[in-house]
């Protein structure tokens, strides 16, 4: 295919992917009972309504609580898991690698239902805490893969070198291993947070009486629409976008800093 045609194709794909998101934003910019686009009166009334409702805060806090805990647990466990996935070669590794990705290749709503039954069988009342557990079952394998990708590019000989130079185990971890892993940890944490924040299929079945943001949106979209629903959808999405931007900026700064320090050490060794 010729180049202009290719550009057109790619543009159409990207535009189509954003049309629904844009539609929510457009719908949120009027405060009429029924949706009638194009709006006769554009307004940000739906947003002032959303911010004045206590429920908006409660929903965001519930999602934040779940996503923050999922991120912490996922990072700790996945870092260990990634070591076994990519750093060490051991008997049984290929089975381990395939076994831990299985939850990714499993229908999420079905996993949610299975976990709901599992919690009931154990006599555990579902709440936001069980949702943290449920999210982890799906997100932990993903974060493990993300960190593993980074670890594959890691030369373990650096650790031996540091140890030969008299570094303690802790120093090796702090000065050699973790700095190399940092970009993987940052993107892994980003994945964990955003995937948990936006998750619908697992939350629906495992939060019990608590409600996360996507769940609430789902129930309101299916039953009684109001512009405030669009406004809260936009606010919730912008919150995650802001989080993503901050983390990516951190990643960029970290990358620049490590490039500078490596070029500095390179200039020292050549001089």
């Amino acid at each position: 295919m010729r180049k202009p045609l290719q550009t057109l194709w790619l543009t159409v794909i990207v535009v189509l992917l954003y049309v629904p998101i844009l539609s929510v934003i457009l719908a949120s910019l009027a405060n009429t009972r029924y949706m009638r686009f194009p709006h006769r009166n554009w307004s940000i009334g739906a947003y002032t309504d959303a911010f004045s409702q206590h429920e908006t805060l409660v929903l965001h806090l519930a999602s934040l609580k779940v996503a923050a805990l999922v991120t912490v647990f996922a990072l700790v466990l996945a870092t260990l898991g990634a070591m076994a996935f990519a750093r060490y070669d051991w008997r049984g590794r290929s089975i381990y690698q395939k076994a831990i990705v299985l939850p990714i290749f499993f229908p999420q709503p079905v996993l949610g239902l299975a976990l709901l039954l599992f919690f009931s069988a154990l006599g555990i009342t579902p709440s936001w805490k069980t949702a943290v557990f449920a999210h982890l079952v799906w997100i932990l394998p993903i974060v493990t893969l993300v960190i593993s990708i980074r670890l594959f590019g890691y030369d373990p000989a650096q650790e031996d070198a540091a140890r030969d130079l008299g570094a303690t185990r802790w120093q090796v971890l702090k000065e050699v291993t973790l700095p190399h892993l940092a970009p993987g940890l940052i993107s892994g944490g980003l994945f964990a947070f955003l995937l948990s924040w936006s998750n619908l299929p697992l939350s629906i079945f495992t939060t019990g009486a608590d409600t996360t943001l996507p769940e609430w949106l789902f129930s309101r979209v299916a039953t009684n629409y109001a512009p405030v629903v669009s406004a809260i959808a936009v606010i919730g999405t912008l919150a995650s976008v802001a989080f993503g931007v901050v983390v990516l900026a951190a990643l960029w700064i970290q990358r620049r800093a490590s490039r500078q320090s490596s070029s500095a050490s390179a200039s020292i060794s050549t001089s």
Binding site: L17, Y96, F105, P107, P109, A121, L200, S230
Partner: protein
């Protein structure tokens, strides 16, 4: 213990409890008397018999058919897209790839809600704009199976594209040139050089799309109206309204079985290290 297995232990244990154990429990529930909750009762296959005789064929059919159709559609759109992105290295391609990735992190409920607002008749975004700009009135596919299909393709396209990008990256450029020089047609290059080399990525993408679609229920709930009952919806109804857990469990096990039949053969043949390692 050696460091490998030692590091593997926490994740392995967690997934044993969080993934394997629930499936075992569901399997157990599926074998007890219909409408009972007692795990110590006698085991029976009654629920599975009911699954095949009591009209659950429809939901299974629609979920599997929808998953196949979506996988095929996504593959057909993602293949040229992946090749174009791979061909234009550098900043432009990185930006486009990033733009395609971002919607994955926007909640399904937001995106499907947006799609329904877009497709709404009368005052919807598309219908309203066309009416205001060109005076054209259009109907809507909202609340039909077509809307569900469009929603499935929309949500799952990135899950096909990204593994496929990894797959396409496995095709050495000179291999295509060599085939061309030896007189191969475009079609022959595609069939005998590109597809086999990119197969690991294509297989992972297809697998992911198919498996995610088979359980998908939000698309049907938000876009489909009453047009179609998908299998997850059928299971959910057994668990909630009908209070028939063993029946719901049996249906869950059947979906798990379909998933396993597709996943295991593909996963067994693919070398994850090769696909991930750059």
């Amino acid at each position: 213990m050696k460091p490998g297995p030692l590091f593997a232990l926490p994740v392995a244990l967690f997934l044993l409890v969080g993934f394997a154990a629930p499936i075992v429990i569901v399997g157990w529930y599926s074998l007890i008397e219909p409408r009972s909750f007692d795990l110590t009762s006698d085991l029976t296959l009654a629920n599975y018999r009911a699954a095949f005789t009591e009209g659950y064929g429809g939901p299974f059919y629609w979920s599997i058919f929808g998953a196949l159709l979506t996988t095929l559609t996504c593959a057909l759109i993602a293949w040229p897209t992946a090749k174009m992105l791979h061909a234009r290295a550098g900043r432009g391609a990185a930006i486009i790839t990033g733009l395609i990735a971002v919607p994955i992190f926007v909640s399904e409920s937001v995106r499907l809600f947006g799609l329904s607002l877009f497709m709404m008749p009368g005052g919807g975004i598309l219908a309203g704009s066309l009416k205001a700009l060109f005076g054209v009135s259009i109907g809507t596919v909202l609340n039909t199976k077509i809307a569900v299909y469009l929603g499935l393709v929309y949500v799952h396209f990135p899950f096909m594209l990204f593994p496929l990008l990894l797959g396409v990256a496995l095709i050495p450029r000179d291999r295509i040139d060599a085939a061309r020089d030896l007189g191969a047609s475009r079609w022959q290059v595609l069939r005998e050089v590109e597809l086999p080399l990119a197969l690991p990525g294509l297989a992972i993408g297809a697998l992911l799309t198919f498996v995610l679609c088979i359980g998908a229920n939000a698309e049907a709930a938000i876009l489909g109206g009453q047009a179609v009952t998908v299998v997850t919806r059928a299971i959910e109804q057994r668990f909630s309204y009908a209070q028939d857990w063993p029946m719901g469990a049996a249906l869950t096990m059947l979906v798990t079985l379909v998933t396993a039949i597709v996943v295991f053969p593909v996963l067994a043949r693919i070398d994850l290290n090769r696909l991930i390692r750059r």
